[in-house]
Amino acid sequence: MHRPAVCTIAIRILLLPCLYVAYTFAIWFFPTQSPVHVSAIPAEGQQQVINRAYTGREVWLNYACQTCHSIYGLGGHLGPDLTNTASEGMGAYIRIVVREGRLGMPAFNLTERELDDLMAYLEMINASGHYPPRSLNDSVFGAVR
């Protein structure tokens, strides 16, 4: 009686990680609903823009921007969501706010290069979709801008 119980438990324990690994591969392989639109960028500049966006992501992480700001609603709730900030012609404004601070946001001493990279990251995020929703009639599964 006891031995079969141990076997059943072991099978149930192992089954879940197998399901987990299969599901993780599914996330990797299924096409995303709204792929990043790098095709709009001239081919010769694409890799450079992507590299700068990756460096910008490092800036985002190093300065812990996510403690106050969110991307697609995931992150802090103290400041605004920054998913589509880059699309609203706010580039110059963002640079000023980052440098000088505003309301509860402290001033950050970012270099010009770091700011450029951060903007490249936000532009890449902006190209990937649309958030927050603007109406109750918005598609519940998100939409490409």
Partner: protein
């Protein structure tokens, strides 16, 4: 029974005592929108608060595992106790130091320097190895509790690895959030499974059989796939989002069954034991977190409430009401021989106090979240954020109202674990 693992009992209590202190700092910063110089910056406070909360749950799990192993007379229990204590004592100060030095991950929940995550993975590998060696002993106690503990021990390292996958250059922007949140959800699923497993053991689930196969299949389906509802809007694969909706809605079946079990438990459980208030609290908040999770997964509701403090309310209810209560209940269970009637009454009072404070904070955060969710359809952030902030003013009072019973609870359990045995030792020396 062998000597108490004092380090492992004290570490989660210290983490729990620090967490609300950082939380009050966060509330002050969030509500006042000023930069008082005496308070650390948000990018330090928030990761430290998260580290303390996550640290309390993870170290609490380690403590419960070691205490259970001691009770079972498990093989290698002393080695596990020493190794895990050493690794955790190494990990926590380094993690806090990395955040203070500005070298944190900049990510949610796993806020410490990513280079430290392998230490945590190693802790769970050690516990996993000990579990495999002693699976017979665990199974005799409760088959149901055993598989939950086993699943949790496998999930936490897997989730930690996946949530750190953003470090790989091959992960593109459009999938990064999916991997990060799937990984985090697996960590949450892992620690929930572990704590519910220990919950079954401390509730006296001797020989409790494995649950019915259909419930297991339902749990297995929901386990890996409900995470997608965290961000229907982000560019994750459409099929994953649809599966997440189906899995989340099917969880309603499990919710109904759980509700009936909770009612049965409340009707039959003795109200005198010091552990019962913790288990009842965990049952109640499981239902709240379960119901709010299902509601938040309904796409039309998600559209309004995702990305607001309503999600914080759901998370706080689950972490404090369920996870922390099970950790504290478990510690109380293993220290019950040192608990007298007056102490049990005090613990019960603190649990009630935490309930009330948590309900009020939950309502406040949900209200602020709903206001934000509705206003952002028509208004810009600049025009609605003051109204949302005003809705959070009660947090300035409610934060300390929740922090005080948590701190008193920590002190009470600390006193039971540390002070009482040394008094007993002194008394023993006098007698000799």
């Amino acid at each position: 029974m062998s000597r108490r693992p004092l380090v492992l009992i004290c570490v989660p209590l210290i983490c729990l005592a620090l967490s609300p202190l950082f939380g009050i700092g966060l509330a002050i910063r969030s509500v006042l929108h000023t930069q008082p110089s005496w308070l650390p910056q948000m990018q330090v406070l928030q990761p430290l608060h998260t580290l303390a909360s996550v640290g309390c749950i993870l170290t609490g799990i380690c403590a419960l595992f070691v205490l259970t192993s001691d009770t079972l007379g498990a093989r290698g229990a002393v080695f596990v106790r020493r190794t895990v204590s050493m690794l955790l004592v190494l990990f926590l100060p380094l993690a806090a130091g990395s955040i203070l030095m500005g070298a944190g991950s900049g990510k949610e929940y796993l806020t410490w320097a990513p280079v430290l995550t392998p230490i945590l993975i190693l802790v769970f590998l050690v516990l996993g190895a000990s579990f495999v060696v002693n699976i017979d002993a665990f199974t005799r106690l409760s088959p149901e509790g055993t598989w939950l503990i086993g699943v949790g021990l496998v999930c936490i390292p897997l989730g930690l690895i996946e949530a750190s996958s953003y470090l790989l250059p091959a992960v593109a922007f459009d999938r990064e959030l999916s991997f990060e949140w799937h990984g985090l959800d697996i960590v949450f699923a892992g620690w929930n499974a572990l704590l519910y497993g220990f919950g079954i053991l401390i509730a006296g689930g001797k020989g409790k059989p494995l649950r019915a196969p259909w419930l297991f299949i339902l749990a297995a389906f929901g386990f890996a796939s409900t995470f997608g509802h965290h961000h229907y809007f982000s560019p994750q694969p459409q099929v994953i989002k649809i599966i997440a909706v189906i899995a989340s809605m099917l969880a309603a079946l499990s919710f109904v069954k759980h509700m009936r079990a909770a009612v049965r438990f409340n009707a039959t459980a003795s109200s005198n034991g010091p552990v019962t208030p913790f288990l009842r609290a965990a049952e109640l908040w499981t239902l709240v977190a379960f119901a709010s999770g299902i509601l938040l997964a309904i796409p039309q509701i998600n559209l309004v409430l995702h990305g607001t403090t309503a999600i914080v309310a759901h998370t706080m209810g689950a972490m404090i009401g369920v996870n922390i209560m099970l950790v504290l209940g478990g510690l109380t269970f293993y220290l019950r021989e040192s608990i007298d009637e007056a102490c049990a009454r005090r613990l019960k009072r603190y649990v009630t106090w935490i309930h009330i404070a948590l309900v009020l904070i939950w309502l406040d955060l949900a209200t602020a979240g709903t206001i934000k969710g509705l206003l952002r359809f028509e208004h810009s952030y600049a025009s609605y954020h003051l109204q949302v902030t005003r809705a959070m003013y009660p947090l300035l009072i409610l934060g300390p109202v929740l922090a005080v019973p948590l701190l008193l609870m920590c002190w009470e359990i600390f006193r039971i674990a540390i002070v009482e045995p040394s008094r007993a030792n002194q008394a023993g020396q006098v007698d000799n």
